[in-house]
């Protein structure tokens, strides 16, 4: 796999970003974070493992007996790709342990192709199957189908990219909120690139909200928060 990134730099930056996210949520202390960063910069294993990960991608590589890591290529809305480091379980969860996640987003081909592709990679290895929305709410039966979809899901993810004049996703967030569904609300902040995007209504800002500037960033934050989110809502 050829990438415009230096493998060891990418791997170090990615692993550090997990610890930064845990620092910000309070799970690790400032001292622990900086000790980790210093150790990561000195650790020569990052050099050898990063080359193996990129050379064998998307085949997984075993790390010391603690688990498998692999590099996958995920997608930005403009069709470009970026590498993503994925930690894997040894085997897929059994059928009875699977959960359904309703995904609400603007019905645009570039959002569909990238967001759905990315989320399937992030969630399906952990027993979370996706269900889509993305149709015009003016069709009454489609609206009922969306309500049924949210109602029957165990959790929801909403992305507001490109929704300035298409507020469907906010209606769906309201439905999920009224039904008491655990949800991640992703708010696109890079308005210079995509001017057709509104902002999350202030009344909804207390929800588990992720602000992002690119899908590379959007993928990391839900991924790093996944264990805590699933535990919090007793989904595993």
């Amino acid at each position: 796999m050829a990438h415009p990134v230096e493998p060891a730099v990418f791997l170090r930056e990615f692993v550090i970003s997990l610890f930064e996210s845990r620092l910000l949520n309070g799970a690790i202390s400032v001292d622990t974070y900086h000790n980790r960063v210093a150790a990561i910069r000195k650790d020569s294993n990052f050099e050898s493992l990063s080359w193996r990960l990129f050379k064998d991608a998307p085949e997984p590589v075993q790390v010391d007996g603690y688990g498998l890591l692999r590099i996958v290529e995920l997608r930005e809305p403009d069709g470009s790709s970026f590498p993503f480091l994925q930690g894997l379980t040894q085997a897929e969860p059994p059928a009875q342990k699977r959960w359904t996640c309703f995904v609400g987003h603007r019905f645009l081909p570039n959002v569909e192709r990238s967001l759905r592709f990315n989320l399937v990679h992030l969630l399906s290895p952990y027993g979370i199957d996706l269900r889509w929305s993305g149709y015009d709410l003016s069709a009454r039966d489609v609206f009922a189908e969306i309500i049924r979809g949210i109602e029957s899901s165990d959790l929801c993810i909403f992305d507001n990219l490109g929704t300035l004049n298409r507020p469907n996703v906010y209606v769906e967030i309201g439905i999920a909120h009224a039904l008491g569904k655990p949800m991640l609300v992703c708010e696109y902040m890079g308005r210079r690139k995509v001017p057709d995007t509104g902002s999350i209504p202030s009344d909804l800002q207390g929800l588990f909200r992720i602000q992002y500037w690119s899908y590379q960033e959007l993928c990391r934050q839900p991924y790093f928060n996944l264990p805590l989110f699933l535990d919090r809502h007793k989904l595993r």
Binding site: A27, D43, G67, L69, G87, D231
Partner: protein, 60 residues
């Protein structure tokens, strides 16, 4: 004399709110949060790559 941790702490306290690294909202310190904090403390002896792999192994 200031330690590196003191300097780092001071730098963090001056980070502007609202940037990409700022917390998105209030921290909910429930049982799940305490369990995660405990998990990191119990696994602090692992090197960072092993800890990263084990963190996502938890989901299985």
């Amino acid at each position: 004399m200031k330690t590196q941790a003191d300097i780092s702490r001071k730098k963090l306290s001056h980070t502007k709110a609202g940037g990409p690294s700022a917390p998105a909202g209030p921290i909910l310190r429930d049982a799940a949060w305490w369990a995660e904090k405990k998990w990191f403390e119990e696994n602090r002896s692992l090197d960072s790559l092993s800890l990263f792999a084990k963190y996502f192994q938890r989901l299985g």
